[in-house]
């Protein structure tokens, strides 16, 4: 049986918040009997974006992580609900019955992803429905997907095995797999948000002028794990190693360039680090 999956590309999210606004547009002032009651006008909607800056001026980047209900295969909210107020559809979408769930605050508290929002106006837990009311009407996408300008959000209708294969092929990850709830929302390039980079710039002095060094060979090694990666500096002398675990301890950067003395820099990696400009001096 084919099921619905969402794939979110962290590298393509630009924090335009169209998804947030489209979700509010679909649900504020609208009642979808059997699917969801209205969302309140102010307050969180059922999708939000967390932002993370990495690095330090002048070498930084920003990653945006859209968060919503993971529509888990083994949903804790369903376990916490009474009277079958939360259930999973055959296509995998997890639904909160808007009538049955009234007053069940424990449903909101049960979600390890904090995706269930308590609606104080209607006394009901609410969350993303993957626009099930629209899908059932023939739509092939959710409101958030429709308004997303970059294609960061995509929906896939696949057999579970097919989704597994897709995830393997594209290195898709779920958020917080250790929670073991079986999310069906996958992330591409998740490391942009969860991991850090180590970067720097390589330069030299020619006569009295400073010049960027292009083509220097930079390798990254970690105490204990040996050499991890290497790359060459670009026209600005910049290098950047990504997808490094936060708080992963001491790393060594080694810079080699023909006709120059090799330089090494030690870095104690906690979060993303810009080591600054490393000057190479000529071999005497």
């Amino acid at each position: 049986m084919k099921e619905r999956y969402l794939v979110i590309d962290v590298a393509q999210c630009e924090n335009c918040n169209n998804c947030f606004l489209a979700c509010k547009d679909e649900h504020v002032g609208n009642d979808w009997p059997g699917y969801a009651g209205p969302q309140p006008n102010t307050g969180p909607s059922w999708i939000c974006i967390e932002a993370r800056e990495r690095g330090e001026y002048p070498m930084i980047d920003v990653a945006y992580l859209p968060l919503l209900c993971m529509h888990c295969a083994d949903p804790p909210c369903a376990k916490a609900a009474k009277d079958g107020a939360v259930y999973k559809r055959p296509d995998g979408i997890v639904m909160i019955d808007p009538l049955k769930a009234k007053g069940q605050t424990q449903v909101a508290k049960a979600c390890p992803y904090h995706a269930v929002v308590w609606n104080a106006e209607t006394d009901t837990p609410q969350k993303c429905t993957m626009c099930a009311h629209l899908l059932d009407r023939g739509w092939d996408k959710t409101r958030c997907i429709q308004s997303c300008p970059t294609g960061a959000l995509t929906m896939h209708l696949l057999e579970p095995a097919g989704m597994e294969a897709l995830a393997a092929a594209q290195d898709l990850r779920v958020l917080s797999p250790e929670k073991r709830t079986g999310p069906r929302v996958y992330y591409r390039h998740l490391y942009r948000y969860t991991h850090c980079f180590i970067g720097g710039s390589v330069a030299t002095r020619i006569e009295s002028r400073e010049e960027c060094v292009e083509g220097a060979r930079v390798s990254l090694a970690s105490d204990g794990k040996g050499r991890l990666a290497s790359q060459t500096t670009d026209a600005f002398g910049d290098f950047r190693f990504d997808n490094i675990e936060e708080n992963s301890g001491r790393h060594i950067i080694r810079i080699e360039h023909a006709g120059h003395k090799t330089e090494t820099v030690g870095v104690d990696v906690r979060k993303s680090t810009y080591v600054g400009t490393i000057f190479l001096s000529r071999d005497s």
Binding site: E14, N17, N30, G43, P58, I60
Partner: protein, 996 residues
């Protein structure tokens, strides 16, 4: 006129006969329509009066008596009808009345006094509108989605949309997804791949949020009057901004406004009425500030608020002198550049350019997918911006953050590297430009002893010299597109004390690299899609129904295609927008014209008051709050309290911004609540063919999706009701409704050749087919680079501005790119503020202005907001305020955000999310602090465009809690000989905010 009727009507006897038959038929139609449509029966019941239709000589006629909702008629002439419609001849009457209604015939008849309307305007106008309602009764529009849901269409500043409505309420607003019947999309083949855009329109956040704006609790739902304002007694102007308001009826409100218009003209004379609008408007050609508003004000006589060229400043006052482009206000043209960029370009330098945030202009996220294609092709990107902007964040690439307001320091240093390392196109410079040697000498330091080296630059703008050399070498060796501004010819860097010299240097750099050669042009694929420029659909700058041939681009095409009564303002007086406070408070000021006709247009200075005219005594403010959008804006708040302003009326949609300063408030409705018609991102005029930002050309009928909320009304209706009181309602509306005008505009476009009015009304939109590959517009500036006649499809520059031969060369005196500007040599060669070639001139408010800098050591930049469209979407309890990066909610209040580097925050003990006061000598704004690495130490970032002005004390002289950062920016023009905003040269200090 119907061809058969026309031929028969050559015989007077036959014409008279047909006229009589028509008049009888009219009676029959009234009855039939009333029987079929209850709304029309109700309409007929609104008034009891007698209307006569007759010939001038009274030989033929019929009169209709409306009584109790019934219409009875008799042949002949009534002795005292209330309303009379007079025709010079039966033939004339037939030309006007026989369907299909020929508006040109009507106008011709009016202009030659062969058609007239007599009687009280309230009745005559009602009658003409009733005829229109009768002819349009039963018109179907929208698509039935089943289950009681209708799908309509409308358009906005952030893309066209489907609007789903049920039971008179908007359910949802979505982008438009094309169906199988819509024209196929274009494909560009480049580097072995094919690129085709997605088959839907994109949508901006400020459009996606619209439902919450329409139903906002801050909507003005009825007219209001200031409680302590009495037009016949005490006016209490000193209380504007702090008075309360009371509800009044429309009749009361319109009577006050109309009486005040008459009174100030009677007491003071022409020129006493000042009107200004924002630079933008809710979308729609007919409702635009360049359309209905102009027609109304031209017919009462008004002093216009003259707009400074806000989007273009440094391009208009500076860059234009190097390459002309006056009809683009100094910006470049952009035809064919998407294809050229995809095929040839090797690097894009984004310089003060954030199209992901600004959408170019009005183009939502159309350009995003094209930039994604550039990235897929491995085209390098560099971002030069004091702020790590949203385009940089999405696409990556080297980020260089110059110190704000250091203008062309970086550009001059790049030129220095090119010169000293032979990295520029010498043949192009020799053949296609003039004056290079003189500029080169300046760059090398031969003129002032200062070589503009990367090291010199580092001292000024702060970019490491090594990075400048690296960039210059990359650029000089690669085919590079320069995106200067999100839309080419925009960019925050053009709006500061050094804005002129920055924009000028952008042109000079491209002149050194061979502008127009393959892969070497301006833009970032934001403009220049291969759509059809030959399909005619007007943009808003073409003046809609304004009739204003002098003040809009109406005369270019639309006046012939949609003939209309002309309108002309008789007041030769203008107040520059940035000097309105001085004009009111001090009674005099001066400005320089924003004149796109020719380069020298900007040299003309005008004085206020103009000779023989009354100073301004009444201010009719039409939307658009200056508090969050202009500069040093406490001045505008203070101005309102002056007794020099005897009367202030504000016509707005929400109670925000400057509405709180009005004596009378007129509630207008949004464009979802009225009829209009338009195209996606089509400005026309000064941004000709701006729809070339879109992946598809989409024409849209803007259905009236829902009824106006409360007692709000369309601007057209408000102006019409005032016109009735002032005696020119027929000249304002031409006797037809907003819906009729939409049909007229439809007929004026090339749509009728492609789709019927009925089908267009039903579906709501039309996708213009893309041209065949061989018919695509050629690349801009290519013909110039190759010294051929201009071959791009625009009527610019005007023939008189070519030197050697029409269409050969640029608009400059030499016809070439000028490093030394002949226009400036003629005008004022010794102006130290604007030298004849671009030089580095330290900002008059910046890191060199020591005394000021010591007190206010942070440089504030205030770019266009990320989520709202200036003030559109902000405040008014819309969902945008819930976005963490737009406003921050602290203790129930939504504060504006100021972004500070972590080092500056640390030095001031300011933590993330804390309340701070941002201040200088001009005022103070309370913000929530965001600690970030996206600006360098010494630079602070906050958006302009707050819709909320919320002073904690006296308006105009107390800190603003709403977020109007424009309170802090200088009102000094970029150069004295200009009318310009220099917002981004602004020194401030920031400290923790302690409530008093």
């Amino acid at each position: 006129m119907n061809a058969i009727v026309s031929r028969l009507a050559r015989s007077k006897t036959l014409a008279d006969f047909m006229f009589s038959v028509l008049l009888l038929g009219l009676d029959w139609m009234f009855g039939r329509t009333a029987r079929r449509y209850p709304f029309f029966k109700a309409r007929l019941g609104e008034k009891d009066f007698v209307v006569q239709i007759r010939l001038k000589d009274r030989s033929k006629g019929r009169y209709y008596a409306l009584k109790g909702g019934e219409v009875s008629s008799r042949s002949g002439v009534h002795e005292s009808p209330d309303v009379t419609v007079i025709f010079g001849s039966s033939r004339c009457a037939l030309s006007v009345l026989v369907p299909p209604r020929d508006q040109l015939a009507t106008i011709n008849a009016m202009k030659s006094f062969q058609m007239g309307l007599e009687g009280p305007e309230e009745l005559s106008s009602w009658f003409m509108e009733t005829l229109s309602l009768m002819l349009n009764a039963g018109v179907q529009y929208g698509t039935d989605m089943g289950d009681g849901e209708m799908r309509y269409t409308t358009n906005s500043n952030g893309g066209p949309v489907f609007v789903y409505v049920r039971d008179g309420r908007i359910v949802r607003i979505t982008p438009i997804e094309f169906d199988g019947k819509d024209a196929p999309s274009w494909t560009v083949s480049a580097r072995g791949r094919s690129f085709t855009p997605p088959r839907q329109t994109t949508i901006s956040p400020h459009t996606q949020v619209f439902k919450s704006m329409i139903y906002s609790p801050d909507r003005l739902l009825y007219p209001m009057k200031r409680t302590d304002f009495d037009a016949n007694g005490a006016r209490n102007p000193q209380n504007r901004g702090i008075s309360g308001y009371e509800r009044i009826t429309w009749d009361e409100a319109l009577d006050i406004v109309a009486d005040e218009i008459k009174r100030v003209k009677r007491v003071h004379g022409p020129g006493a009425i000042l009107n200004g609008s924002g630079s933008h408007h809710l979308w729609g050609i007919l409702g635009y500030w360049l359309s209905a508003r102009l027609r109304f004000f031209n017919n009462i006589g008004w002093t216009p608020v003259g707009h400074n060229p806000d989007s273009w400043e440094g391009w208009y006052w500076g860059a234009m002198h190097h390459w002309g482009q006056s009809m683009h206000l100094g910006a470049p043209e952009s035809y064919g550049t998407v294809e050229d960029c995809l095929k040839e370009c090797e690097m894009v330098v984004f310089w003060s350019s954030d199209p992901e945030a600004t959408g170019g202009v009005y183009a939502a996220f159309e350009g995003t997918v094209r930039r994604q294609w550039l990235k897929e092709l491995g085209i390098a990107m560099v971002h030069i911006d004091p702020f790590y902007n949203h385009t940089a964040a999405l696409f990556g690439g080297k980020w260089l953050a110059p110190r704000p307001a250091t203008g062309n320091a970086l550009a001059l240093a790049i030129a220095y590297v090119w010169i000293t390392e032979d990295l520029y196109d010498k043949a192009y410079v020799a053949d296609r430009t003039v004056g290079f040697d003189q500029w080169k000498a300046y760059i090398l330091g031969e003129e002032d002893g200062i070589a503009k080296t990367p090291e010199w630059q580092e001292h000024e703008a702060g970019i490491p010299a090594k990075d400048v050399r690296a960039l210059a070498r990359l650029w000089g060796r690669r085919k590079t597109y320069l995106a200067a501004g999100g839309l080419s010819g925009f960019g925050g860097a053009c709006r500061d004390a050094t804005g002129n010299e920055w924009a000028r240097s952008m042109v000079c750099l491209m002149a050194m690299q061979g502008l127009g050669k393959p892969g070497i042009n301006m833009g970032s694929a934001q403009q220049g899609t291969p759509i059809d420029t030959g399909f005619y659909f007007p943009g808003y700058a073409e003046g809609g129904l304004s009739g204003d041939i002098a003040g809009t681009a109406l005369g270019v095409a639309l006046y012939q295609r949609m003939p209309q009564l002309a309108s002309a303002n008789t007041v030769y007086q203008e107040v520059p927008r940035l000097r309105i406070p001085e004009a009111i408070l001090e009674g005099h000021t001066h400005g320089y014209f924003t004149d796109s006709k020719t380069i020298e247009g900007q040299f003309r200075r005008y004085e206020y008051p103009a000779p023989g005219y009354s100073p301004v005594r009444m201010y009719y403010k039409y939307g658009g709050s200056h508090m969050g959008t202009m500069c040093d804006t406490n001045r505008y708040a203070r101005m309102y309290r002056s007794s020099n302003l005897e009367f202030v009326v504000n016509q707005s949609i929400w109670f925000e911004g400057e509405a709180r300063f009005a004596d009378v408030i007129l509630p207008a409705c949004t464009n979802f609540e009225r009829w209009d018609i338009s195209e996606f991102a089509n400005c026309g005029g000064y941004i000709q063919h701006s729809f070339n930002q879109c992946n598809h050309r989409v024409a849209v009928i803007q259905h009236k999706c829902i009824e106006p909320l409360g007692e709000s009304r369309s601007d057209f209706r408000i102006f019409l009701d005032l016109a009735k009181r002032l005696g020119f309602s027929a000249m304002f509306s031409e006797g037809i409704t907003e819906f009729d005008w939409c049909k007229r505009l439809f007929d004026a476009t090339d749509l009728p050749g492609a789709i019927s009015w009925k089908d267009f009304l039903k579906k709501g939109y039309y996708v213009v087919p893309a041209p065949k590959e061989e018919e695509r517009a050629p690349v801009s500036f290519r013909a110039f680079a190759e010294d051929r006649l201009k071959d791009t499809p625009e009527i610019a520059p005007l023939p008189a501005d070519y030197t050697e031969q029409t269409f050969r060369g640029l608009q400059t005196q030499s016809g070439k790119l000028e490093f030394v500007c002949s226009s400036l040599k003629r005008y004022d060669p010794d102006d130290p503020e604007r030298p004849v070639m671009t030089k580095y001139i330290p900002a008059w408010e910046g890191h060199h202005t020591k005394e000021l800098y010591d007190r206010y050591p942070l440089q504030l930049i205030t770019p266009h907001p990320r989520y709202s469209f200036h003030t559109m979407g902000d405040g008014k309890q819309s969902w945008l305020n819930e976005i963490k990066d737009h406003r921050t909610r602290i203790d129930g209040y939504y504060y504006w955000i100021v972004r500070i580097n972590s080092k500056d925050g640390e030095a001031r003990e300011i933590g993330e999310g804390e309340l701070v006061k941002v201040f200088n000598d001009r005022g103070a704004v309370i913000c929530a602090a965001r600690i970030t690495e996206r600006v360098r130490p010494g630079t602070v970032h906050s958006y302009e465009g707050s819709a909320v002005y919320d002073p904690i004390g006296e308006p105009g002289s107390s800190p603003d809690r709403g977020g109007c950062m424009n309170i802090l920016t200088p009102s000094r023009p970029i150069i004295k000989k200009s009318h310009s905003i220099a917002a981004n040269s602004c020194l401030v200090q920031i400290e923790k905010w302690r409530r008093p």
